[in-house]
Amino acid sequence: MAATFKPLSRRRSSGRLWTYVPMSVLAVFFLFPIVFMLVASLKSDHQIFADMDSLRAFLPVGELSFANYAAVFDRVPFWRFLGNTLFVTFMVTAFGLIVNSMCGYALARMRWKGRGLVFGLVIATLILPFDTTIVPLVYLVANLPWIGFDGLTPVLETGWLNTYRVQIIPFIVNAFSIFLFAQYFKSLPKGLEEAAAIDGAGWLRTYWRIIVPLSKPVFATVAILTVVTSPATWNAYLWPLMTVQSEELRPVMVGVQYFFQLDTAWGEVMAYISMITLPMVIVFLVFQRAFIQSIASAGMKD
């Protein structure tokens, strides 16, 4: 018995080896820059370059300190930047969920005039890359009116530049989110609304009490895709670079600009980019299943 099993298991384990070897090589390829970043953030510039010729570049050895991190706090108002990014990300995501889900719901399950037209608009904007409208969008937001408050008296203001709203409001609506919501709502069983109507619930209550609780997966998907892929949330860079000049309103990614200089302090750069990467990595590791699921379901629509 043992003799007949042995060759089989050996063959299998050598087969395994042949998949583990390329998989591990690939893993090294995907991990080495990130490991290097984290390790280098703890070293002085002198040591980073001294260690570059050996595997020490990836090992936390030698004189380690948080000096680079302390220097980052001296150079940029880190907590302010982080707070701005978190606030903008939260607002874009939260309002996006409300606005896009209601629009998707109206398109998927209600009959009203203009529905076909709106659906056409949503589909048309699906393939419109954000970059093609960015220049006129800057011009537009520079001239949009807004009602501000001076104490309690409302004041008509012009221009959205240098505000939080310019970082939030243009990015709430998203054609792909609307599309994902509409697809999901279409798959819900027919007759839900009729059953609710018999109980005397209006449209808003039906939506809020029945549809939303049944649709948690699509809400999670859209929230995650918004945070990971929107040009205005965690990764916002080009847009705030163009529209926000004052330091108090800047998000974390724009903060990298403070480190561009002739004689770059690479240890500080590594510390800063570690600081703006780790929060997202931790969130990802905690909610990994939901992340993977969201991206997978985004690809299943065709």
């Binding site: 820059p33 970043m37 109206a106 220049v135 109507a197």
Partner: protein, 326 residues
């Protein structure tokens, strides 16, 4: 909008609907349906309104404005109103603007390399982590990690790795036993774009691995069992069973990578600024430089329109090609 019945005669939505049994059921039912569909009309429009307004103001509006500005000499800040100049912007772009020509070519080359590379490597990774193996989730997480890392961060990080005294050179020199003479990858016109290709694929491929994986997992196990019984090799099973069944995923992967590749900007902006000597300049970089930094809004809009037409044409061609193959 004409409303068929006076709104006052309508009962409040939902209220008193199945109340007392009506004396004449048929007309009551008809009235109920009508009022229901009218509240549905209004509720539907109201539900969609915020999204539609935002879409019109911040997406469609700027797109239309861009379309109009493309035929004018508008500037971002200007004392004189913009004038209609016909096709002058396009003429300038296609006949005079060498930087634009170079950028157009660079963008196409980048897409032509990245699309098969990232799509193919994504599929390979998906096939690897789709096996029943101990630790496959760890590998999946590792391959996906760069996607979570912002492109801004990745660009800065790799800029350092690509330096003459950076990690890429020291690694190559270690592997070749010191034979490799280091070079500054991003400062050399013949290697800068290749360097950006490698780091772009490194950052983005995990995303498409997940998309491929989702496609693979929709293929039922029985398909393979049937295939295995016929004595086929794994390659034949992959070629004749897996690949055809992955076609919808293939179309999605193809189009999304193409659009992302054509929009190449952040990496270039942070790593090279389009240099050296224009070797990494791209369409979007030109749009931002001309339209925003140099404030030539009309010209920037014209370039945007060219960019949009190119992306649209590519998407349509890809759809057509993948459809006809049936």
């Amino acid at each position: 909008m004409p409303i068929p019945v006076s709104s006052r005669s309508a009962p409040p939505a939902g209220a008193g609907r199945p109340a007392a049994a009506p004396a004449r059921p048929a007309p009551a039912a008809a009235r109920r349906r009508r009022s229901h569909s009218r509240t549905e009309q209004r509720a539907g429009a109201a539900f969609a309104a915020p999204g539609v307004v935002l879409l019109l103001v911040f997406v469609i509006g700027p797109a239309v404005v861009s379309l109009v500005l493309a035929f004018t000499n508008a500037r971002l800040v200007s004392p004189t109103p913009p004038e209609f100049i016909g096709l002058d912007n396009f003429e300038r772009a296609f006949t005079e603007d060498a930087a634009f020509h170079r950028s157009l070519l660079n963008t196409f080359v980048f897409a032509a390399v990245v699309v098969p590379l990232q799509g193919g490597l994504g599929l390979v990774l998906a096939l690897l982590v789709n096996q029943r193996l101990a630790g496959r989730n760890i590998f999946r997480t590792v391959y996906f990690l760069p996607v979570i890392t912002s492109m801004v961060v990745v660009s800065l990080l790799w800029r350092f790795l690509y330096q003459e005294d950076g990690l890429v050179n020291s690694g190559l020199s270690m592997i070749t036993g010191g034979a490799w003479a280091g070079q500054a990858w991003l400062a050399n016109p013949s290697t800068a774009m290749g360097a950006i290709v490698v780091m772009s694929v490194w950052q983005g491929v995990g995303f498409h691995m997940i998309i491929w994986l989702a496609g693979l997992q929709t293929i039922p196990e029985e398909v393979y069992e049937a295939g295995a019984l016929d004595g086929t090799t794994p390659w034949q099973r992959f070629r004749h069973l897996t690949l055809p069944l992955l076609k919808p995923t293939f179309v999605f992967v193809l189009i999304t990578i193409t659009i992302a590749a054509m929009s190449l900007f952040v990496q270039v902006n942070i790593m090279t600024g389009g240099g050296p000597v224009g070797s990494t300049s791209t369409l979007v970089l030109q749009i931002v430089q001309k339209g925003f930094q140099q404030q030539q809004m009309g010209y920037g809009a014209a370039l945007s329109l060219v960019f949009f037409c190119v992306v649209l044409a590519l998407a349509l061609v890809q759809r057509r090609l993948t459809r006809d193959r049936d």
